[in-house]
């Protein structure tokens, strides 16, 4: 355990030093995206990895978070910091309304309904022009105001400075995730994945815990969406389609479901692989899809558990 804490701290120090080392701004940008996807994937892991339900709406939830944060800060005069808090809450409310009816069904049905819901969100974002700006989206979304910290100017228009904000958010959400999956709720999630009927027979109201997992996943996606909106300053519906939800699912599968580090590793892969596969826009997604299928066929447990297995041959 001691060793593990050390490793985490060393890794954290390395990640914190990254903007100082990376000279190319584009790499900082990719690192920010990877961290945002890590947050989304960590949330997805609650419902997909731990509870065993595939939800295909995480991309839509990112959209809800992004748009509500942008809209609130631009139209109501709400300070950006408060918008960061309000956006995930809005997303959670939306998730509660969808999760309640859709979690009455299991397996495939649930996935289909959530995917349909992602499409509803998308159609809404495209058509509610007065609220969302339609296809042309919302632009000039303000960055959070800067301040002076220990005599140093902090300016969130600067990518490197925003990097630390996202890093902080990722660390906080990871700590929360670690606590959550070890809590009673987390154990019940795993019991549901193993055998839902048996868990119910033990007197556990499983639907409450499934709903909790779903809403928690929405909170994570909503926060990441809000951070994304104020980071890039411009949003339109495109990045919040079903494709984005697929990315979240892929991150969890590739990294390793039901592990804490898995979704983070997966998120890095999800951002890095398309960059490395930069042959042509369409080709890389074909490669990506093939990779997803091969991953499920040949290492269904994901990268992290597989590597961990190599280092502990005794188990």
């Amino acid at each position: 355990m001691q060793k593990k804490t050390m490793a985490v701290l060393v890794l954290l120090a390395l990640v914190a030093a990254l903007p100082q080392v990376l000279q190319v701004k584009y790499f900082i940008h990719l690192a920010v995206l990877a961290m945002l996807w890590a947050m989304v994937a960590q949330g997805t892991n609650f419902i997909q990895g731990y509870a065993g339900y595939v939800s295909i709406v995480q991309g839509g939830f990112m959209g809800v978070g992004a748009y509500s944060s942008a809209w609130l800060s631009m139209n109501t005069g709400l300070p950006v910091w408060l918008a960061f808090v309000a956006a995930p809450l809005c997303t959670a409310v939306v998730a509660l309304c969808v999760g309640y009816p859709s979690l009455r069904v299991k397996g495939h049905y649930f996935a289909i309904v959530t995917m349909a819901f992602n499409m509803v969100i998308f159609i809404f974002l495209v058509n509610a022009i007065g609220l969302t700006g339609g296809e042309s989206g919302l632009s000039r979304i303000p960055a959070p105001p800067g301040f002076t910290l220990l005599g140093q100017e902090v300016d969130f228009q600067n990518r490197a400075h925003y990097y630390y904000l996202v890093l902080l958010a990722l660390v906080c959400s990871s700590v929360l995730a670690a606590w959550l999956v070890r809590s009673r709720a987390g154990r019940i999630w795993q019991a549901i994945r193993q055998n839902e009927m048996y868990t119910e027979a033990l007197g556990v109201a499983t639907w409450r815990y499934k709903l909790l997992a779903f809403v928690a996943s929405a909170l994570y996606a909503g926060s990441a969406g809000a951070l994304y909106a104020h980071y890039v300053g411009f949003i339109n519906p495109t990045p919040f389609s079903v494709d984005a939800s697929m990315n979240a699912i892929l991150a969890v599968i590739l990294g390793g479901s039901a592990t804490l580090s898995g979704p983070m590793v997966g998120a890095v892969l999800v951002v890095a692989l398309p960059e490395m596969l930069r042959i042509a826009e369409t080709f890389r997604f074909i490669a990506y899809g093939v990779l997803l299928m091969l991953a499920v066929m040949y290492f269904p447990r994901g990268l992290v558990p597989m590597l961990a297995g190599w280092f502990r041959p005794g188990q």
Partner: protein
């Protein structure tokens, strides 16, 4: 008002017959193999584009181009079953699921690569509009409906009148018993995918003739197919037929009397309503 209402309903039935074709393919696969075949919509789009390409290259009309396209679709279906789904059949259902998602991504982008990004309308020789006094009906819609009905009939006959159809139903009812009776499950899976992909291709062609096909259409199509299945009861062929027609009519009415921008939301609303009130679907008795 009354005439408009009836006409919207008729339009809805035409579109609904196409949804039925999509849903039949999905329901046969689901009922027999337990796979939610998300890539079915992309297969339909592939068929539509392929037919268009055949029509242009070879200068044939839509009916002549549709037949070879359906055959190619059947082969594609068999390929999908063999390469993508068979390797994960023994694993937990979530694996087949993820494979379906990956497959969707691949076929969707292959479509883009092969046929480009343009929206395409399949030209037909049926451009007239039939009129009786206040009534008007484009000739094309009648042909679409007739073709869809014929295909549905053909599938039903195949399932109930042939040896292969009987084997398929046997696997759907009880896989292990069917295996004991000497049914080759691999062959059945293969045939099922061939059949449903051919139907999907036909649906893609009909949609291309009625409206237009474009790269983004497939996702909506597969969701509608699943909405029909949830409405009718997963795995039920009569459910898919009735459900498709109901969905088509409700959409047409919503587009005509509420808002056309949000007509695609109808399938979602229906899905949620059915799940809340009657999760086993309209045509299924609770077991």
């Amino acid at each position: 008002m009354f005439i408009e209402l009836i006409q919207q309903i008729l339009n809805g039935l035409v579109v609904g017959s196409v949804y039925t074709l999509i849903a039949l393919g999905l329901t046969v696969i689901f009922g027999i193999l337990g796979i939610a075949h998300f890539a079915h919509g992309s297969v339909a789009m592939f068929g539509g584009y392929l037919t268009h390409a055949l029509m242009q290259r070879m200068g044939v009309n839509i009916l002549l181009a549709m037949v070879p396209a359906m055959l190619v679709g059947a082969l594609l279906g068999m390929l999908i079953e063999r390469l993508a789904y068979r390797p994960v059949r023994a694993g937990p259902p979530i694996n087949a699921f993820i494979v379906a998602l990956g497959l969707t991504m691949v076929i969707e982008k292959l479509n883009l690569l092969l046929f480009g990004v343009d929206q395409v309308v399949l030209p037909t020789p049926f451009g007239r509009t039939l009129e009786w006094g206040e009534w008007a009906m484009p000739e094309l819609r009648i042909y679409v409906f007739v073709i869809a009905v014929l295909l549905v009939l053909a599938l039903t006959l195949f399932m109930h009148r042939t040896w292969m159809g009987a084997s398929i139903r046997a696997v759907a009812q009880n896989r292990s018993a069917a295996v004991l009776m000497g049914v080759n499950v691999n062959r059945v899976s293969s045939i099922v995918f061939a059949l449903s992909s051919a139907l999907g291709v036909a649906a893609g062609v009909l949609i291309g003739a009625l409206f237009a096909i474009a790269p983004g259409v497939s996702g909506g199509l597969v969701i509608k197919g699943f909405a029909v299945l949830i409405l009718g009861g997963l795995g039920s062929i009569p459910g898919a037929i009735v459900g498709g027609l109901i969905l088509g009519v409700s959409e047409a009415l919503a587009a005509g009397f509420v808002s056309s921008a949000y007509k695609d939301v109808i399938s979602f609303v229906i899905m949620i309503a059915v799940l809340l009130l009657r999760p086993e679907g309209l045509m299924r008795r609770k077991t």
